[in-house]
Symmetry: C2
Subunit: 395 residues, 2 copies
Amino acid sequence: MPKVPSRGFSGSEFAARLRAIQAQMETQSLGALLLTTESDIFYFSGFLSQFWQSPTRPWFVVIPASGLPIGVIPEIGVNAMTSEFMTDIRSWPSPHATDDGVSLLAETVLEVLAQSQSCTLGINKGRETHIRMPLNDVESLMARLRSGMPDLAVLDATPAIQAVRMLKSEAEIDKIRYVAQCVSDVFERLFTFAEVGMSDADLFRRFTIECLHAGVDTVSYLVGGAGQQGYDDIISPPSGRRLSAEDVLIFDTGCTFDGYFCDFDRNYGFGGVNDLAKKAHDSVWQATEAGLKAAVPGNTCAQVFSAMHEVLLNAGAMGETVGRYGHGLGIQLTEPPSLTPWENTILREGMVMTLEPGMVYAPGKMMVHEENVVIRAEGPELLSRRAPPELPVKW
Amino acid sequence: MPKVPSRGFSGSEFAARLRAIQAQMETQSLGALLLTTESDIFYFSGFLSQFWQSPTRPWFVVIPASGLPIGVIPEIGVNAMTSEFMTDIRSWPSPHATDDGVSLLAETVLEVLAQSQSCTLGINKGRETHIRMPLNDVESLMARLRSGMPDLAVLDATPAIQAVRMLKSEAEIDKIRYVAQCVSDVFERLFTFAEVGMSDADLFRRFTIECLHAGVDTVSYLVGGAGQQGYDDIISPPSGRRLSAEDVLIFDTGCTFDGYFCDFDRNYGFGGVNDLAKKAHDSVWQATEAGLKAAVPGNTCAQVFSAMHEVLLNAGAMGETVGRYGHGLGIQLTEPPSLTPWENTILREGMVMTLEPGMVYAPGKMMVHEENVVIRAEGPELLSRRAPPELPVKW
């Protein structure tokens, strides 16, 4: 079993993240940055809680141009968020009849902007983001801010936040490697517990239990599908269908340790799987090899995409429906950047990525393959253990 | 083990939901209703997938004033969403370089509004909601809609959607009851696997495995805390702390079956727990009894709150930090309405609620108790099995 990393982070980790985002803020002249979502708030404050699954209460963190982040949160979270790094936490009793944190947040943002002598607020507006508060409250917040500061400008801070979060520290990488190694253990012994005749619900449940025994904290994401000589859907929960001979099965899982995700998949055959499926597995495996060669610092995401795409085109791919061949990975199951033909983000040391080439190899039959890597000076380091070149088949 | 309900729903269930929301839409003269979040889209289309955990792609469903819902979704989801009920699904290759579904969505909304000869679009703007798409895309969508329909009005459809979703069908209740019964099994035998000396991480993992063995699909939500003679935080993940004598432990879990949640907690003592903690457990148990008596059709949420609050005040509660004494339950861990002093929603047959009285009984010591019920004509039916009146203590 892989060695279990320590939980949490040192204060210096949060200080480094804060320095990095405040440097980004300076380039946009942002006097304050408003965060509203689970991943951004976890990243910059260390606040980790499954309580985000309840949509009832909004949570906010405001990052000033200089100085520590400020929490503006429901009373229920004060003890959990408080740390040596998070000392200024303002709270209100939530849920509230008429004002669920909006006036307290407006007051805090105005105070922070005034202190930094700036009228420019950054918020997430871009790709892969949303604002986690009711739209009525967004409108009310903006009205209060504009009333308190008529010259207010609101800029999109998405690129700034993403640029910081993309580069992982060794402490972050350790957590992702650990959880990827736990799941690699389970994938490698799947045939010891997966059998023809099992319902997919039982198989999902068993796989989850095996991952927990292997050492993950949660099996947050587990999807998969099986079909005769191939599957056509990789995002569905169990349906009750029973595994049968000539099935090709895919499991794709995002397990977590201390809030950090792995995200990769494996394919398996049961009984007489035909050559088309085996050849498709070889193609996506070879495409991943090409991706591993291309995933070096200085190359763009588009270049890594192209390296994999060429292999799949040569293998006769009839298209794909996933829309990309991999993505960033960390405190979300998927993070920017995407491996697409149009993504010009340059790979840098410390980025953690999935390589996920997929193809339709026959009408209604797809094959998707995935590994997790961290970009290193000398080339990618595998965080998952490399899949076998040939589709494993259980007779 | 409780009997496993069937997965999915009949077409008539979705037809009834559609009739109910279209009746609500008529009262607001809405020509179209735009849905962007996992729970609303699952409820009205049946599309269930953990793929929502990836923030990369937006997903939309448009409900017309009459006729079936229309999916506007990434290509990857078309097979998974298609059903006899969801036949009109429009898709685009996502992620997209410049237009992640916005133009296709605008076109669809304008078409639906034109067909219903209406200029009024409903979206979620209210309590407990958010819009799950980038703010830049919200602005771009609104600009496109206003350009195609200068008289466009956008109304808050939150009350309409919540009114429909609050009332559960017997098929929905069966799923919640099943998962609550599975978890009741595990809570009742917690002392067979929880022992002084275990780390909380191991205890969380073991609890999760026991729930899976008991028959749940996922342990989506598991938080808890333990502390000497009481805990002060109920929303945190494991920290590595070891369970020790004189601890009071709480586990609060939202497990799912087929997309439906239970949400309740249980408290346990280890070794010499003092009378203060035992008395606090008695108080929240008695408050729940009062809540059960008050949770009848026709009473408001505020009345149920008051019934519980009176018991806790008489018991010397020093306050509470959760902000409410319970909430709705279904396809989200927490749903409207809330049991607060200001919530005037009237309880109706078929509402599934948690009763969750909590109190601070000493500085830094809280006690929270929770049960799941469905409101029936003759009074609430317990979906969880009633907790024991006395705090269970393991010596």
